[in-house]
Symmetry: C2
Subunit: 151 residues, 2 copies
DNA sequence: TATTGTTATACTCTATAACTATA
DNA sequence: TATAGTTATAGAGTATAACAATA
């Protein structure tokens, strides 16, 4: 008898690399598709509303020092805004912009084209099942990363 | 109406990072757990038998120049062997060792402990479903990466 | 000429430490 | 003192180019 519980962690890393390389091969030279972590950042802001850089970094599982660079890029392109929190001037409150919503939609569309090839062996229902289950895991991880619910 | 087909690529990258960081936090200082791509490499050799570095790299979706370093590590620790193919002396045939099988099992066990936390919001059946579906995608990707079936 | 494996190298991603400004 | 954000920096991961050996 072998593993009664499967090891998913190496499999996730493996498929993440396959996906990333497929996206790179599919990209033109002047490709503006957002990279995965940009997409996730915009989704978190869209689904959970404005939040501090700290909370965003925790939800992304990204080191604070790297959140800075990520937000610099997204802010430079006008996809979000950073404003100082008047109630705690140490904090920057990050807010998604209308451009950010549109950019997210464009990139999501591009990723779906890539997925049509990578996940061709799954039926539409199976793809949806994988997406729903993994989304739940990601949402719970984001909740767990923010132990103090605001106000 | 929003996305009728989900975007999985960013989600996979996101969960891969969450998993990797959870594994790092759980590791002792003298941790010998194999990293995800080592685990996948050993699994490919176990499930598909000996193959050339080129084919292994293609199945891993890893650049040939980086396959070298990966195999150097695994060979140094005795988990696999490289032998010149007598029928084509350019090729190195990579073969899993008995130590490699044991090392894989130990690491797989460690990853399962980490997954118990990450995937706590899924039932055992749901975890199995995700694993089975993603395994199929990975297996098909590995097949597609080796377009010429040997003899 | 083309392919396999290799080396050298640059670029991206990520973590750690030290700093600043605020609390 | 402690925390949010930032900067600097080193290490890991990865891709590209050039090379040697072999076909």
């Amino acid at each position: 008898m072998v593993a009664d519980t499967p090891e998913l962690v190496p499999l996730l890393a493996h498929l993440a690399r396959i996906s990333r390389r497929a996206a790179e091969r599919a990209a033109d030279d002047d490709d503006t598709t957002l990279r995965p972590r940009h997409v996730i950042a915009l989704e978190l802001l869209r689904d959970r509303g404005p939040m501090s850089q700290r909370d965003l970094g925790a939800a992304l599982s990204l080191d604070p020092s790297n959140v800075v660079g990520l937000l610099n890029e997204l802010e430079r392109d006008g996809l979000l805004e950073r404003r100082r929190d008047p109630r705690d001037r140490r904090r920057h409150v990050v807010t998604l912009s209308a451009s950010g919503v549109r950019a997210h939609e464009r990139s999501a569309h591009r990723y779906r084209e890539i997925e049509d090839r990578i996940f061709a062996s799954l039926t539409a229902a199976e793809r949806r099942a994988v997406h729903d289950l993994l989304s739940r895991v990601a949402a719970d991880a984001a909740d767990a990363a923010r132990p103090e619910p605001r106000d």
